[in-house]
Symmetry: C2
Amino acid sequence: MKIIRSREMLAAEIKGYQKKQQSIGFVPTMGYLHEGHLALVAAAKQENEIVVMSIFVNPAQFGPNEDLESYPRDEVHDRKLAEANGVDLLFIPSVEVMYPENLTAEIHVKQRISVLDGAARPGHFDGVVTVLAKLFHLVQPTNAYFGQKDAQQVAVVEGFVADYFFPVTIRVIPTVREQDGLAKSSRNVYLTAQERKEAAVIHEALVKAREQLSKTRDREAILANIRSFIDKQTTHHGMVYLDMYQYPSFEAVTDWMIRLLLPFVYNIRRPD
Amino acid sequence: MKIIRSREMLAAEIKGYQKKQQSIGFVPTMGYLHEGHLALVAAAKQENEIVVMSIFVNPAQFGPNEDLESYPRDEVHDRKLAEANGVDLLFIPSVEVMYPENLTAEIHVKQRISVLDGAARPGHFDGVVTVLAKLFHLVQPTNAYFGQKDAQQVAVVEGFVADYFFPVTIRVIPTVREQDGLAKSSRNVYLTAQERKEAAVIHEALVKAREQLSKTRDREAILANIRSFIDKQTTHHGMVYLDMYQYPSFEAVTDWMIRLLLPFVYNIRRPD
């Protein structure tokens, strides 16, 4: 596995793959790899000749009171996991490599972000698409891999890629869960033992909501039931939102036949 | 020469060039071709194996009171000129092909636009970089060709391409002028016979300004001289601005050793 830290050396490697007409599968990450990331790598491995992973904790997608400083990092472990799982090229740029100068032009997400993380984390998705535009141009992937766990991110990225005709196919891979149903996430390390135990309620509540959806279309009733279920199952929780939206517009549910989304999020800020 | 109007057919052609490892020179235009465009084609022809030209009058870069409707168009003539000058692929998309849906994310130019066209035409450069992002992703050029005539556009495009690491080299080609020095421009057809005659003053004034720059660093004096020169040589003029800036920042001149820009612009609105 090659480890590359500069744009110039990455460009030379990518040119080499293109000369050999090799397809490139790209897995952009913020590191602290877990089985969710590895599922993306496995899909990339299966569908492409070359797998490129990036590890970059992107400051542009963190708000001023968020966890940029404390976001978990473990490069040595990440390198071992990436190599063991067949990553061909690991790109680990510094902030200076990714943001060498002030931007002449900024990208602002306008659709699909009026709710959930889009509302709770102003500028977050601007930072996501900004770094992805840069990474897509550097890596020039055939396919890029994202986890379904971050459903609003997937909707924004799919919209952005369609907007500007990026020559890449976005592949969305199902959420990988712990045994008790909690979605794997680098930020799970923030949970105390008690919180970790109670966090299983998130997936239980999702399953419960899906059951109810087969019986009723009463959005308010479902949400109230789920909220009371979560309240009962937990000693305390930092739930920021609980709601139900149409996918991928993230607008109110109007068409019950198409994909629904019922997300829960606990606070992304590191507990003091 | 192939004429292509759909994104899907363009993608197939581009894939074919990439399979053969052919370099692609790209000349984006709004059509109504003149020798300025043909100089871009000639440079592209010399430096690449394949030359792709686009003709698209991009609504996003026109303001509400500008000349979108009346912008000169002559597709039959353009096709002849493109073919005669060795263009391999001419892409002529409709507005629906380039803007199939509302954008999920918008691009806004923030630097290099506080003066000149950036100030006089709000949103103009947002429209320019938006359509270029789309075109660059569709054509995937090795090199893209722009005329030095539109100096602020060149500065914005170079900044934008550097911001997001687009894998394309921007090539800037010197302005092509009429015998009397007027820069070739599709919009010159808007001039009456009298205006066309007097328009030669623009280049004369630029030459005069360059002479004065070799003798003095007094910005105000140079601009006053040039303004009075233009006033004397013309019966009337629709000059929007006359100023002098540092290139490519388009900020006040502070470093006389680096590239200066002294632009004149007459009104881009079609005279009533």
